[in-house]
C-alpha cells in the first residue's frame, strides 16, 4: 500500500488527476444504486423538466431523472467497454504473440485474416453484423471485441517481432523450450509496457465506439441508461439552448482524457522517456 502511495506521489499532476477521476468513475459505477436519487428506469416527473431541487439535472424525454441515468450510465457504458477491451486484448494479444513467435504460415494466415477484417470500415462492419445477429449486450461485446482485436493483433505482433529476434529468445528456442514458455516468460514481460499503454487507448476507442453505436440505435438498448443513447434521446433540447444533453458527452470526454493522462505517464515511466 505504501508503495502504491509513493508511486502516486511521484506521478505528475496530470497523471494524479487522471487516477483520481478514474477512481471516481469506478466508485460511481460500483455504488450506482446507492448514489442515484431515483431508479434507472423510473418515470418520476414530466418530460424535459428543468434543473431543480428535486431533479438536480432535470428530467429526460420520458420524465426520468437525468442525474440518476447518468450515474447508472457509468455502470453500463464503462462496464461494457471494459469487458470488451479485455476480451479484445486476450484475443488479439494472444494471436499476435503466437503469430510473431511461430512466424511462417501461421503468421501469414492470421495476418491475412486480420487484413480482411480491417479492410472493411469498422463502424459499417459493426452495424452490419449487429443488424444480422441482433443487439444484445453479449453480441455487442463480442462483435466489438473481435473487430478491435485486429488492431491489438497488429500492435502485439509488431512489438513481439522486435523481441523474437533477440538472442535471449533464440537461446530459449535452442534450449528446447515450448511455445507457451517462450511467449509467457521471454516475450510477454518485455511486450507488456506498450500493450498496457495500448489498453488504455483502446479502452477509450471502444468506449467511444459503443457510444456511437448507441447514438445510432444499435448499441445498448433502451431503457438501459447509456451515455451515448442519452445524448440522442435528449438531442432536441440542444436547439433550446439547454446544455443538459451534452452532459453525458462530457462524461465520456472527461473519462477519455483521464485515461490518456494515466497512459501517458505509464508509457513515460516504463520507456524511460523524459518530457
Amino acid at each position: 500500500m505504501t508503495a502504491v502511495l509513493r508511486l502516486f506521489g511521484e506521478a505528475p499532476w496530470s497523471a494524479r488527476l487522471g487516477i483520481v477521476l478514474i477512481t471516481l468513475y469506478v466508485v460511481v459505477a460500483v455504488f450506482a444504486p446507492l448514489l442515484a436519487p431515483y431508479g434507472e428506469r423510473a418515470i418520476v416527473g414530466y418530460e424535459y423538466e428543468p434543473w431543480s431541487e428535486a431533479h438536480l439535472l432535470g428530467t429526460d424525454n420520458l420524465g426520468r431523472d437525468m442525474l440518476s441515468r447518468l450515474i447508472y450510465g457509468a455502470r453500463n457504458t464503462v462496464g461494457i467497454a471494459f469487458a470488451t477491451t479485455v476480451l479484445a486484448f486476450l484475443l488479439g494479444g494472444a494471436m499476435g504473440l503466437v503469430a510473431a513467435t511461430l512466424g511462417g504460415w501461421t503468421d501469414q494466415a492470421l495476418s491475412r485474416l486480420v487484413d480482411v477484417l480491417m479492410a472493411i470500415p469498422q463502424l459499417i462492419f459493426a452495424l452490419l453484423i449487429l443488424t444480422i445477429v441482433g443487439t444484445s449486450v453479449v453480441s455487442l461485446i463480442l462483435v466489438i471485441a473481435v473487430l478491435d482485436s485486429t488492431r491489438v493483433y497488429r500492435l502485439s505482433r509488431a512489438v513481439a517481432m522486435n523481441i523474437v529476434v533477440m538472442d535471449f529468445v533464440e537461446a530459449a528456442k535452442l534450449r528446447g523450450e515450448g511455445l507457451w514458455w517462450i511467449i509467457r516468460y521471454e516475450i510477454l514481460p518485455n511486450a507488456m509496457p506498450p500493450l498496457v499503454a495500448e489498453f488504455g487507448l483502446r479502452f477509450c476507442y471502444v468506449f467511444l465506439f459503443i457510444s456511437a453505436l448507441s447514438f445510432l440505435g444499435l448499441g445498448i438498448q433502451p431503457p438501459t441508461a447509456d451515455w451515448g443513447s442519452m445524448v440522442r434521446e435528449n438531442a432536441t433540447l440542444i436547439s433550446f439552448g439547454d446544455i443538459t444533453p451534452l452532459l453525458p458527452a462530457a462524461c465520456i470526454a472527461v473519462l477519455t482524457i483521464a485515461v490518456n493522462f494515466v497512459v501517458d505517464w505509464f508509457l513515460m515511466k516504463t520507456s524511460g522517456l523524459k518530457e
Binding site: 533477440m166 538472442d167 535471449f168 533464440e170 528456442k173 535452442l174 534450449r175 528446447g176 516468460y185
Partner: protein, 540 residues
C-alpha cells in the same frame, strides 16, 4: 612539434551528466593542449569520457550532458562563452567530426557528393563546382575507387570501409584546422581497417590538420598519434609522446593496457584421435538463394578450442547456426560423437540440445531484461537436469561462484544492474548450467573493453581446464585467436581456406588470405603501419 602555435587548449575541463534529476560529474578537470598539425590519441575504456572530451573540443555537449567548468579555447576563441552562432560558424568549417559508424552518420537519401558539398556551401567557402573538384581530389588521396564518380553514389552503394573514408573526406571538405575522429575504424574488419588508417594518416599529414583520435585500441593509436593521453573514469592517467609512452609507461593502468593480449593458452599436445565431439562434414548452407557456406568441414574435440576466423560475411556465424540447428544445411551433415545430428533443432532431443550451448556477441540482447539472474541461470538447470528447490538454489550459487561473482550480491539482480563484462559472465553461467560438452562463443569479447575481454578469456580458459569443455570460438580478432585457440579455421566467402593447429597457422608459409589477415592486425610498434605500407606499396 611544441614550438608550433597552440590550436586547442582545455584547462580544468569539467563535464556533468544528468542521472535522473541530479547532475554528476563524468569528466573531472582535464587539461589538454593541441598544437597546429598535431595528432593526439585519446585512449581509455568505455566510460572513460574520451568521446565526451572529443565533442567538447567543438564546444558541444551531448543531450543530458553539460560543460560545467574550466576553459576551452580554440584558435583564440573561447568556446565556453561563444554564442551558438559563433560555434556554428566553426563547426564543419574549422572543426570537423568523424563518427564511429559512417553508415549511421550519412543520410541514406542523399548522394555522397551532395553531403560532401553541404558544409562548404553552407559556410560560403566555395562554389559547388569548385567543391566537387576538391572532393574528387580528396577521394583520390583517400584511395577511393573511381574518385570521379563515386561521389554520385548513395551511401548504401559503397562498402563500409569506403564509407568511412568518404566520411573523412567530408570532414576535410572545408580544410578544417582540427578533426575529431571518434573510433573511426572500430566497426571495420582488420583488413579494411588498415586501408582506412593509412588513408586518414596520409591526408592528415598532407593537409597539416590537427586531430584528436579517439579509440580504445592502443595499437591503432600508436600508428596515428604524435602524443597519447590515457583516460580513465573521466580523469587523465598519463600523457606522453607516443614512443615514450609505449616504451616507458609511468602508470600501472597504462602498463595494463599495454599488456592486454599477453594472455596465452599453453600449447597443447596434438589432437587426440578419438571421435570428435562435433564434426561438420562437407556442409553447405544458404539463406534463400544466397549461398553462404560452401562444403565446409572441420571437427571440434573435447577440451580443445577451435577458433574460426574471417571477415564479416565469411560465413563463420552461419557455421555456428548450422551446428546449433537454426539453419539446416542444404548439403552435408553435422555429426555428434559419430552419430548424425538432426539438421533442425526442433527435431533434436533434449539431451542433444543440452550438449551444445551458445554464448553471444552482445550480452545486452542475450539476457532477458525482465528476468533475474536466478531465473536466467536456474532455468537451464531445472529444464535439462530437473533440479528444483534447494538443490537448484545451491547449483545456481555454485555457478555464480564459478564465474567469479558473489552469489549473495548477484543472484537477485536484473541484467540492467550489471556491467557488460558481468553480463557476459552470466551468459557463460547460463551455458554452463546446462552442463554442455561444446560451447559456441560467437564474438564473445568484441563488445567488451580490452581489459574486461582479457578477463573473460581467462575465465573461459580456466573453465575449459576444469570442466573439459570444447569451444568453438568465432572471432575476427587475431589477438583473441593467439590467446585462446588450439586450432584455427580460416574462412573466406563461405569456404575454409586454411585450417590446422595454431602453431603451424602462425608460422609461414600461409595461404595468401591468412597472410593478409595476419599482417593486418595492428601492433604496438609505432612504425608498424609505415613498414607495412612500405612493403606493400600498391595497396588497394
Amino acid at each position: 612539434m611544441s614550438e608550433r602555435p597552440v590550436l586547442l587548449e582545455m584547462k580544468g575541463l569539467r563535464i556533468e551528466a544528468r542521472v535522473g534529476e541530479t547532475w554528476s560529474e563524468i569528466v573531472h578537470g582535464i587539461d589538454l593542449t593541441l598544437h597546429k598539425g598535431e595528432v593526439m590519441g585519446l585512449i581509455g575504456e568505455s566510460g572513460a569520457g574520451k568521446s565526451t572530451i572529443g565533442l567538447a573540443a567543438m564546444g558541444f555537449a551531448r543531450d543530458g550532458c553539460r560543460l560545467s567548468g574550466g576553459e576551452i579555447s580554440f584558435a583564440g576563441i573561447d568556446l565556453m562563452r561563444a554564442s551558438e552562432r559563433e560555434k556554428r560558424r566553426l563547426r564543419g568549417a574549422r572543426i570537423a567530426y568523424v563518427a564511429q559508424s559512417a553508415a549511421a552518420a550519412f543520410n541514406p537519401a542523399h548522394r555522397l557528393i551532395d553531403q560532401f558539398c553541404e558544409a562548404p556551401l553552407e559556410h560560403g567557402l566555395a562554389g559547388r563546382r569548385e567543391t566537387e573538384a576538391y572532393a574528387e581530389e580528396l577521394f583520390t588521396r583517400l584511395r577511393l575507387p573511381e574518385p570521379d564518380t563515386i561521389g554520385f553514389r548513395y551511401p548504401h552503394q559503397v562498402s563500409g570501409g569506403q564509407l568511412q573514408r568518404a566520411m573523412t573526406a567530408m570532414a576535410m571538405s572545408c580544410r578544417p584546422d582540427l578533426i575529431v575522429f571518434d573510433e573511426p575504424t572500430t566497426a571495420l574488419d582488420v583488413t579494411t581497417q588498415i586501408e582506412v588508417l593509412a588513408a586518414i594518416r596520409d591526408v592528415v599529414e598532407q593537409f597539416d590538420t590537427a586531430a584528436l583520435y579517439i579509440t580504445h585500441d592502443l595499437a591503432v593509436v600508436a600508428q596515428m598519434a604524435d602524443t597519447i593521453m590515457v583516460l580513465r573514469h573521466g580523469d587523465m592517467v598519463e600523457l606522453g609522446e607516443t614512443r615514450q609512452l609505449l616504451a616507458q609507461p609511468k602508470e600501472g593502468y597504462t602498463r595494463d593496457l599495454l599488456q592486454v593480449r599477453s594472455f596465452r593458452k599453453p600449447t597443447m599436445a596434438e589432437a587426440s584421435r578419438e571421435t570428435p565431439l562435433v564434426e561438420l562434414q562437407g556442409v553447405s548452407a544458404a539463406y534463400g538463394p544466397v549461398k553462404v557456406l560452401d562444403k565446409v568441414s572441420f571437427a571440434l574435440h573435447r577440451q580443445r578450442t577451435v577458433a574460426v576466423v574471417g571477415e564479416s560475411g565469411s560465413g563463420k556465424s552461419t557455421a555456428a547456426r548450422v551446428i546449433t540447428g537454426l539453419l539446416p544445411p542444404t548439403e552435408g551433415r553435422v555429426m555428434a560423437k559419430g552419430e548424425p545430428l538432426p539438421p533442425d533443432y526442433r527435431k533434436r532431443t533434449k539431451d542433444q540440445l543440452r550438449q551444445i550451448q551458445m554464448i553471444y556477441q552482445m550480452p545486452d540482447t542475450a539476457l532477458n531484461p525482465r528476468q533475474s539472474i536466478r531465473q536466467v541461470i536456474g532455468r537451464p538447470a531445472a529444464f535439462y537436469l530437473g533440479l528444483s528447490g534447494k538443490r537448484l538454489e545451491e547449483r545456481i550459487r555454485e555457478l555464480i561462484r564459478l564465474i567469479e561473482l558473489d552469489p549473495d550480491d548477484y543472484v537477485d539482480r536484473l541484467p540492467t544492474e550489471l556491467s557488460g563484462g558481468q553480463k557476459q559472465r552470466i551468459c557463460i553461467a547460463r551455458a554452463l548450467a546446462a552442463e554442455p560438452e561444446l560451447i559456441i562463443c560467437d564474438e564473445v569479447t568484441s563488445a567488451l573493453d580490452q581489459l574486461v575481454a582479457e578477463e573473460i578469456l581467462e575465465l573461459l580458459q580456466r573453465l575449459q581446464d576444469e570442466l573439459g569443455l570444447a569451444y568453438m570460438f568465432i572471432t575476427h580478432d587475431i589477438g583473441t585467436v593467439r590467446a585462446i585457440a588450439d586450432e584455427v579455421v580460416v574462412m573466406l566467402q563461405g569456404q575454409v581456406v586454411e585450417q590446422g593447429p595454431k602453431n603451424t597457422m602462425f608460422t609461414p608459409p600461409h595461404h595468401a588470405y591468412t597472410e593478409k589477415l595476419l599482417a593486418s592486425v595492428p601492433e604496438m610498434d609505432p612504425d608498424w603501419l609505415t613498414n607495412l605500407l612500405a612493403e606493400r606499396p600498391k595497396m588497394v
